[in-house]
């Protein structure tokens, strides 16, 4: 592997004979999603491998699909990848910082697309009187749940927990 003329050797190197260029980028700067996004833009023209170089760096290998790669061409691939990676990292940040807004807008815009339930769905509804588990007493009336203070010795109503009077004497 040889270094490329205008690119620091610790960032990229090229094997001109094999037509492959290898890059290493810092993980703290470039999240994996951004590396994948940038790498994806090269799949038409290159064979692409993304791997971990070490604990702090990603490694990317680009091998142009067409034969006859020279140092100049490989250097262009490196430059192109670097620019795309920067753009992808920025887009990644934008998407991450504004994800909640985008999701809120989309959800509000599409609300109602499902429409009201149809008769088919009504047919599937369980109209039986079978009891179901209700450990929190959600289906109970207020009176059943909180209404009458239990006399001493009475069993506490289902679902009630502590003394509703807040422990007053």
């Amino acid at each position: 592997m040889a270094s490329l003329p205008s690119i620091p050797g610790e960032l990229a190197s090229a094997d001109v004979a094999s037509g492959v260029v290898r890059l290493t980028v810092r993980e703290e700067l470039y999240p994996l999603d951004a590396v994948f996004a940038a790498a994806f833009t090269f799949i038409k023209d290159c064979w692409v491998v993304v791997d971990r170089a070490d604990a702090a760096h990603w490694a990317i290998a680009l091998t142009p699909k067409t034969a006859g790669a020279n140092a100049e061409l490989l250097e262009q691939w490196v430059g192109g990848f670097a620019n795309e990676l920067l753009a992808c990292a920025y887009r990644h940040r934008l998407a991450k910082d504004h994800r909640a807004t985008v999701e809120a807008v989309t959800a509000a815009a599409l609300a109602g697309a499902l429409g009201p339930p149809s008769l088919d769905e009504l047919e599937d509804f369980d109209f039986s009187n079978e009891a179901f588990e209700d450990p929190l007493g959600i289906a109970m009336s207020w009176e059943d749940k909180y209404g009458k203070k239990a006399k001493a010795g009475d069993a506490a109503p289902a679902g009630s927990t502590d003394d509703d009077d807040g422990g007053a004497p």
Binding site: I43, V105, A113
Partner: protein, 510 residues
């Protein structure tokens, strides 16, 4: 386009915008599809959060909803809702293949036509009725039944029966019903035309360019297919005019299939369409379906050459338009309606989620149901991946909720598609999963390698270049191409209100 070092790029002041170089400027789009073209310096200031609050640029950014502090949530919601209005309805376009038989032999036939003696590929009256019964189960209040083939005029009695049966059924259903027919017109005669006009069937045909090119690609034994098509186009247009219909709105639509031989003839193609009285030209690249899968090596071309062809042809159309000739390019009109109009014309091949199953269904001559016409074409090639039922036995909800429909819906979600999720054109785009499946072997297309993605990106690059740098007359022409004038004459009696949410413009299948 230049970006500052990552550490100097700000995000909190902005929205989740996307960006792309357009010449020496930068196009930015926001999630709801509003856009601005910025100079390099403006883009630099925006990305570094260095736009003075009292500057014109700040006003532009705020006005187009690009600033977090001024973000108009309600406006964003309304625009996304307008762009996705088609998800609120069920399938409205229903393509009925009434026969595979065809009298013409096209070098690229996408429909895998059958010979004229293959009568077993004719739809029967019984299947036609079952097809209509199934169509009217759609939850959509808008129904367009499109007759396709093969050549639908070959099985004209069943076309008539299907129309009569549908009209009868619609007396109770009261859908907003329309009929369209895609025909090469060579088997048209006076009686058929009189019937089709009386039933308000919208007619569409194929024109591949000047007569020599058209006849070479669309072979009609012992005759000129161009002569037949052009003669009937004129007859039909004259009939519309005689009925008092506005000829600028009511005329035969035609469609082009671009082959390698078409590319140098961009001017002749446009001139041919203008001479035939067509107001729209759809510069479609060749598809990989049907016979084209085999003849592709002779007909195909690099998509960059297609995009050169496209630019030359559309430049010429803009020039003609400026001189008073009404002609538009259909792809441009579709994208511009989204870009300038803020709504989606619901062209099923350029939307997301995809129209397959959700917006359209295709019905084979034998009653089998497919998510889309391309799915039916693939089936004819021996791959039934997009077959989702049969009109005689399937329940509507089982078809529309079929696992294949769900799969293509997920696969066509550009918010979850690599590359598309970051693409500046994401609000306006969409690639049919059937195309990715045929060309790449997966419904989850790899867009960087997709010929269709290359075409769509190239067209939108061209349009934004024109919008950014074109003169006032050019921009006015592009604005005018977004004008939608409903053809209410084609609505069946009893239908009320404005036409439906739009359909894929009738697409002739050779």
């Amino acid at each position: 386009m230049r970006l500052a070092p990552l550490g100097e790029l700000a995000t909190r002041h902005a929205v989740a915008f996307r960006f792309r170089a357009i010449g020496d400027r930068v196009l930015v789009t926001n999630p709801e599809g509003r856009w601005l073209v910025l100079t390099a310096d403006e883009f630099d200031a925006y990305t570094r959060d260095r736009v003075p609050a009292d500057s014109p640029l700040h006003a532009r950014l705020a006005g187009a909803n690009f600033l977090a502090d001024h973000y108009d949530l309600r406006a964003a919601v309304e625009m996304v809702r307008a762009r996705k209005r088609f998800v609120h309805h069920g399938p409205n376009l229903h393509m009925a293949v009434v026969t595979l038989r065809c009298n013409e032999t096209c070098v690229y036939c996408h429909a895998s036509r059958a010979d004229m003696d293959a009568v077993h590929t004719d739809m029967t009256r019984e299947v036609a009725e079952q097809t209509v019964d199934f169509i009217f189960k759609t939850t959509s209040p808008f129904v367009t039944i499109e007759f396709q083939g093969g050549e639908p005029l070959v099985n004209f009695p069943v076309v008539q029966h299907l129309i009569e049966y549908a009209l009868d059924k619609n007396r109770a259903a009261k859908k907003q019903l329309e009929f369209t027919m895609v025909s090469n017109l060579a088997m048209m005669d006076d009686a058929k035309l009189e019937y089709l006009l009386s039933k308000k069937v919208q007619l569409c045909t194929s024109i591949d360019g000047p007569a020599p090119l058209h006849d070479k690609q669309r072979v009609l034994p012992m005759a000129s297919s161009y002569d037949h098509a052009s003669r009937w186009i004129k007859r039909i247009n004259d009939a519309y005019a005689a009925a008092g219909l506005d000829p600028t709105l009511y005329h035969v639509e035609a469609l082009l299939t671009t082959t390698r031989a078409t590319l140098p003839q961009w001017k002749e193609v446009v001139d041919t369409y203008v001479a035939l009285g067509c107001r729209a030209l759809f510069l479609r690249p060749i598809d990989p379906f049907g016979f084209a899968a085999k003849t592709g090596p002779k007909l195909e071309y690099p998509r960059r050459e297609y995009l050169e062809f496209y630019r030359r042809a559309v430049d010429y159309m803009i020039e003609l338009h400026g001189r008073g000739t009404e002609i538009l390019e259909r792809y441009a009109a579709i994208f511009l309606t989204k870009i300038l109009g803020g709504v989606d014309p619901n062209f099923l091949d350029v939307r997301w989620p995809a129209g397959a199953g959700l917006g359209a269904l295709a019905y084979g001559y034998d009653g089998r149901i497919f998510t889309c016409d391309e799915g039916r074409m693939l089936d004819a090639m021996g791959d039934d991946a997009f077959a989702i039922g049969h009109v005689a036995t399937s329940k509507y909800r089982d078809v529309v909720g079929h696992e294949t429909v769900r799969a293509v819906t997920i696969a066509s979600n550009l918010d979850a598609t690599p590359d598309c999720v970051d693409c500046t054109y994401q609000p306006y785009c969409g690639v049919p999963p059937s195309h990715s499946y045929k060309t790449q072997g997966t419904i989850f297309g790899r867009m960087r390698e997709s010929a269709l993605c290359e075409v769509y990106k190239g067209i939108q690059d061209y349009l934004f270049e024109k919008l950014a740098t074109g003169d006032a007359a050019t921009r006015a022409t592009l604005e005018r191409w977004t004008t939608h004038r409903p053809r209410e004459h084609f609505l069946q009696d009893g239908a009320t209100g404005s036409p439906g949410p739009g359909t894929k413009p009738v697409a002739p299948r050779p």
